[in-house]
């Protein structure tokens, strides 16, 4: 940040530092800072504090790092992270590829009703998480659900979407892909529009075909945008909650249990707030690690 020369304060006789203009700024940021302090910093510190306690029978006892050691021993923490990992490894590339494809298509000048199509693709991103999850649950009902009826037309036996450990993951992946592809598409579209027209022209003059242009010219230009969408999607997958909560409640047999869903169960169903806070901080650390990796990759030039 550039340093601003401090205004010369007028020292009237005996008035001393009655009024210093640079202090005025502090008063303006105070409301925001106070709100941030009360609703952000204080809870944050309090939860860290809480994570060193064990609540049982209404009594809190200091247990040191016991809750954090517990994280490593708890098979459900491992399972929830593994579930999130499986979902993100399958879902993020699928969604980003879809979003790039859609964005590229919707950026073509020959396409009519482009704005309409863009709006349609983006619309899922404005639906509420709970509402669309409920709709997906109805669509994926084993008996008489729309999805099973449609695949039934092609002679495929009904799939037990929400009760099978593998298909339940697929259902979650399908749901979040539907919800978030449009959102990522818009970001990538913005990236595409920032690609200078000269590059396309140069590629054409060099005799590159449509596919070659896309692969060697457009994609490299999209690199920062792709990294950004991948990282936010990865963090999003780590924080998955609503879809699993409504579609499967984390079942069957914990096959769709995610870290945040587990945190919710531990905190609000088992009232183990100390441990829930420890899980929250584990997620904070994981997310921070991913963010750091993002910055590293962004800084490196290809």
């Amino acid at each position: 940040m550039a340093s601003i020369p401090a205004p010369v304060s007028r020292r009237g006789r005996g008035a001393g530092r009655r009024w210093r203009p640079q202090r005025a700024g502090l008063w303006f940021v105070l409301p925001a800072a106070a709100l941030l302090g009360i609703f952000f910093a204080y809870p944050l510190i309090a939860s860290l504090w809480q994570s060193f306690f064990q609540t049982a029978g209404g009594e809190s006892t200091f247990v040191g790092v016991e809750q954090y050691i517990r994280l490593f021993r708890d098979p459900l923490v491992g399972k929830s992270l593994l579930n999130a990992g499986i979902i993100l490894v399958l879902q993020v590339p699928l969604m980003i590829a879809l979003a790039v494809g859609l964005a590229y298509l919707l950026n073509q000048s020959w396409l009519r009703f482009r704005s309409g199509f863009r709006l349609l693709t983006f619309l899922p991103a404005v639906t509420t998480l709970v509402a669309y999850s409920v709709v997906f649950r109805v669509l994926l009902t084993t008996d008489g659900g729309a999805v099973n009826q449609i695949i039934g037309v092609f002679g495929i036996a009904p799939v037990d979407w929400l009760n099978n450990e593998w298909w339940a993951k697929v259902a979650v992946i399908a749901a979040i892909t539907w919800r978030w592809t449009g959102y990522n598409m818009v970001i990538i579209l913005a990236g595409l529009q920032a690609v200078p027209a000269e590059l396309y022209e140069a590629a054409r003059i060099d005799g590159a075909g449509k596919w070659q242009t896309f692969w060697h010219v457009v994609l490299p230009q999209l690199r920062p945008v792709l990294i950004f969408t991948s990282v936010t999607s990865t963090i999003g997958a780590l924080q998955l909650f609503d879809e699993n909560y409504i579609l499967t409640q984390g079942g069957p047999n914990d096959a769709t249990l995610t870290p945040v869903l587990y945190l919710y169960k531990v905190g609000f169903r088992q009232f183990d707030f100390g441990y829930a806070s420890a899980i929250a901080w584990m997620l904070v650390v994981l997310t921070a690690v991913i963010a750091v990796i993002q910055f590293r990759i962004m800084r490196e030039k290809p």
Binding site: F39, A46, S47, D74, A237, L240, T248, G251, L263
Partner: protein, 436 residues
Amino acid sequence: MKMRSAIALGAVLTLSLSGCAMGGGGGSAGATLNADAEVSGEITVWSWDVGATALTRIAESFQAEHPGTTVKVVDVGYDNAYDKISVGLQAGTGLPDVITIESDAAPGYVTQFPKGLTDLTPVLGDQKADFDPFKWSVGSNDEGALRIAPWDSGTVALFYRTDYAEAAGVDLSTAETWDDLIALGKTIKDKTGHTLLSTDLSTGGGFQMYLQQLGQGLFNAEGEITIDSPEAVRVLTMMTEMNAAGLIKNVRGWDGRVTSAKDGDSAVTPEAVWWIGTLQGDAPELAGSYGVLPLPAFDAGGVRTSNSGGSGLAIPTQAKNPDLAAAFVTYALADTDNQVSMMKEEGLFPAYLPALQSDYFQQPVEYFGGEPVYETFAELTAQIPPIVYTSDSAQATDIVANAVTAAVLNGADPKSVLADAAQQLATATGREIAQP
């Protein structure tokens, strides 16, 4: 996915904030209630759905009989009710004078917030014998002090389709044991194609309900884990056999169960008395095709009922007007006329046993072809076996639901999945596994 999980995270963070502000949650032990106190002033009551409707109605007559009092009933909605209650108890502030807690959730609140709920023994203690024994135990702490007053019972019986039984030529009233019922279920399946029962296996498929029939919970009186007890293995084996014979239709969630009943998939539904309200409300077209029998026992002569659901009322220690709250709770719950009126108007089946003597329960019910089905439930209510809950019941419930999925759906051996489940719970909670 981001916004909402941020909210969930934020909620936990905020929660721990208030928790440590109050030094670990709970606040003071609360006022000692005085049954003969002069009541005045105002209270607020939290409930939801028909519960709120019922209490609003009761509040009007209470105010008329107690001049100078105001009872404000708020329908807080079911979805966020428990999050609000948990946060309020943890923070020691923010709760009204009376709250509703369902029986399934009751043990968790009683054990985790020992100072959060007012001891109701001074006002209701001498009427213990008048209440459903299971409801009383589920709302009491280790020392037997009542914290959540029994409201409505979840007395379980067997709902069955009379038309299916007739079509298959079987008499279900001859089924004294589950083995008998399974045999008849196979006949029904062969003759009519209908499954025996519809259930949601992912949430345990009624495992704990069946286990309670055998007088057992997931823990024994010493707080040791009994998930792998011979009784539990017996229940899970029975469920596995039912499913292997194609007698179970696995459905998802509450909606799935209601839809399945409406579609007439299965011949029987072992469920609590409040299922009557669901049937009448959601499947009025099936009037005349249902009957009610006591549950089959595990062994001839055994207990023929269990519990599923039901609620209670509690007074948080942070209540501003505990004496008025206690007077209202007593008025609503330990009163024959009011309990009978809640049965008539809102379908809440009394946990207050004297109310069950009312003529109303002997009356024929049109929906069930004029049979006096409430009589069956009224007789069974006093027989519901009390079971032990602990502070880890919620976690045990999750683990057991997974064991049910593994055994019934994935074909794992019931004995070994329950042994694994017990071990998992022991590791997570530090509790001992009970030795048979």
